[in-house]
């Protein structure tokens, strides 16, 4: 089966010699929702702009529906882009904005008008069709940009932080609309964002980038529970990293010597060599906090094989959520939340305690 979009060893080096994107590989199926996620300057927008044709590609092949498009100018590519600042044409009405792409393609008048009407209706813009875009709200402008890009029926829609300029509430609602729209149209979406919540909520797969390189390509759930690199572990979710050395491995289990004593982790995929440096990535929600009044053996039996002593600094009840701040023996502070009922009356602020977790809840990353 041909992929909708293929990036094969794509690289970009700026004229002054700085590499912006290094060895980017990705195959996207038709109708997939892909997010490029990473801190600013990681190369995610540059990659998107290479797909759109606004940036030249230094090395590698870019294929859209099996056809190499490296050297095609942007107007000849079956892609359409949504910009963070919307980039609407200020001297045209909403209808003219949307109609423009069809007009220059010389779509027959009746057909063009029908398409414009349909997309305006779908995005709830019929009412404001004759207004200038600058008189409209951010959310409306965002929808105009969407309508303008979708009406030309691109194979791939590229979105460059399209929700970045909206306030939090609007962002949520447009986010939902975007997802529904994408499902309905079945168009491939490539979405650039630095907000992990957006990427986790919207996409089928997330490409995490750092310093021009792809760190991990995974569905949101896997990315969240099974980070493959320390960068991803630090960037996604709220993880505590415990570094140590592999003592031995076998039966899918790995013994790790850490500053907190021996810990157990699971092997993911490849076998782990003894003596290798490794980190245990411990998600905040995997930790169980237990008062020190219970014996360590009992904790181990009830809550999981791994136990570390800690000091509980602060407890705060917010509705049904208990926020717990604690310190590990090495001085690292950890903040986590739990359901109030689970901890009711058992924990005391300022007292020692244990945190415990079962090996399958954590991820081992071998360096």
């Amino acid at each position: 089966m041909a992929y909708d979009l293929q990036l094969s060893r794509i690289g970009k080096v700026y004229e002054n010699g700085t590499p912006a994107v290094i060895d980017f590989n990705l195959d996207v199926e038709k109708g997939e929702f892909i997010a490029f996620l990473g801190p600013s300057g990681c190369g995610k927008t540059t990659t998107l702009r290479m797909i759109a044709g606004f940036e030249t590609i230094t090395s590698g092949d870019l294929l859209i529906r099996g056809k190499r498009v490296n050297d095609l100018p942007p107007e000849k590519r079956p892609t359409s882009m949504i910009f963070q600042n919307y980039a609407l044409f200020p001297h045209m009405t909403v209808r003219q904005n949307v109609h423009f792409g069809l007009e220059v393609k010389q779509t027959p008048k009746a057909e063009a008008n029908r398409k414009v009407d349909r997309i305006l209706d779908k995005l709830g813009l019929t009412e404001v069709a004759d207004a200038r875009p600058n008189r409209l709200s951010g959310g409306q402008r965002q929808r105009i940009a969407l309508a303008r890009s979708l009406v030309v029926e691109p194979d791939i829609l590229l979105l460059d932080e399209p929700l970045g300029a909206l306030d939090a509430n609007l962002r949520k609602s447009i986010q939902n609309e975007l997802k529904l729209l994408q499902r309905e149209l079945g168009i491939t979406f490539v979405f650039v964002t630095h907000a992990q919540s957006e990427a986790l909520a919207l996409s089928d797969r997330i490409v995490v980038m750092n310093a021009g390189r792809v760190e991990q390509i995974s569905p949101p759930r896997d990315l969240y529970t099974r980070p493959q690199s320390l960068f991803v572990a630090r960037f996604i979710g709220a993880n505590t990293l415990i570094s140590g050395k592999v003592r031995h491995s076998g039966d899918g289990k790995v013994q790790v010597d850490s500053a907190f004593g021996p810990l157990v982790a699971l092997e993911h995929g490849a076998a782990v060599a003894a003596g290798a440096a490794a980190s245990i990535v411990l998600p905040a929600e995997a930790m169980q906090v237990v008062p020190a009044s219970i014996s360590q053996d009992e904790v181990r039996a009830t809550y999981g094989a791994n136990v570390i002593s800690c000091h509980i600094n602060r407890l705060q009840l917010v509705g049904h959520i208990l926020q717990i701040a604690l310190t590990l023996p090495n001085g690292d502070s950890v903040n986590l939340e739990g359901h109030a009922d689970k901890y009711r009356g058992r924990l005391v602020a300022g007292a020692p305690g244990y945190i415990a977790w079962s090996p399958e809840a954590a991820t081992l990353i071998v360096e």
Binding site: P73, E75, F83, P90, F100, G101, V104, N134, R135
Partner: protein, 283 residues
């Protein structure tokens, strides 16, 4: 405290500036209403009259004072200014557009263009005249050699105006158009040009007015047929009558009319630009 000292000084400065700017024009206007044909360009006014205005248009009985030889010169100057305006603005827009991308030797080319407004006009005029006469061997005319010097002089102004405008231009609207499948030329026509039009208007005004009263370059490069500034200068060297002042008032009024047209066109497109700026603010 600072403003108590500084403000009056600045006020006086501005007043002096305005006086020097408009003073000559006021004097000129007053003298243009001198009685004629005996009254000369001096105070006091013998008697107020519009004699010299009529004189310009040949509406007075013949007298010893010849009518101003400005009819054809005015026509030439207007045509020359128009040609210069169109050429310089087109070149200016294209050159500024080219400078949006970095290219090898960009700064060299930049200074080469800007040199056109820095070089003393007399030198350009003289050089052009020598080049035409002695090296290429063509006749000098206001619409050939003088036109070339006018373009060389006004092109940098149009270029700098457009450079400033394009500097602030948000290129993502162009990218948006390309990504919709619109060719670069169509994008320029339908998106870029309408948005930079206020700048184009300014560039046109610069080129037109600078060309209209250009003197030193034209003096050497225009050949036999004179432009308006040359014709006026020619009458000065014989004897000065208030008809020149009347003519000056008329041309100044013409300039104001031109400025008003510019102002109206500008206001129309600035309203659009303002909306655009508002959009940027919100973003």
């Amino acid at each position: 405290m600072e403003s108590r000292v500084l403000k009056p000084i600045l006020g006086v400065y501005v007043a002096a500036f305005l006086l020097f700017l408009y003073g000559p024009f006021v004097v000129l206007t007053i003298i243009s209403f001198q009685q004629g044909p005996e009254g000369g360009p001096q105070f006091p006014i013998i008697e107020w009259s519009t004699y010299w205005y009529k004189h310009i248009f040949g509406l007075t009985p013949p007298s010893r004072i010849a009518p101003l030889p400005v009819g054809e010169a005015l026509f030439r100057s207007l045509v020359l200014a128009f040609m210069t305006m169109v050429t310089s603005t087109v070149l200016g827009v294209m050159a500024a557009q080219a400078f949006r991308k970095r290219f090898k030797g960009a700064s060299f080319v930049f200074y080469l263009i800007v040199l056109g407004m820095m070089v003393p006009g007399v030198l350009t005029g003289l050089g052009t005249s020598l080049l035409a006469n002695n090296i290429i061997g063509i006749e000098r005319h206001w619409y050939t050699t003088a036109f070339a010097t006018h373009v060389a002089y006004t092109f940098p102004f149009a270029f700098l105006v457009m450079l400033a405008i394009l500097n602030r231009f948000d290129a993502s609207v162009e990218e948006a158009a390309w990504s919709l499948g619109v060719s670069p030329w169509m994008t320029f026509r339908k998106i870029t040009f309408p948005l930079i039009f206020p700048g184009v208007l300014s560039a046109m005004l610069f080129a037109f007015t600078l060309s209209l009263d250009e003197f030193p370059r034209t003096l050497f490069a225009s050949g036999r047929d004179q432009t308006l500034p040359l014709a006026i200068y020619g009458t000065f060297s014989v004897e000065i009558h208030p008809n020149i002042f009347a003519f000056g008032v008329l041309t100044t009024l013409f300039s104001f009319a031109l400025l008003s047209v510019y102002g109206i066109l500008m206001a129309l497109s600035v309203r659009r630009a303002k909306k655009m700026a508002m959009q940027e603010d919100i973003v």
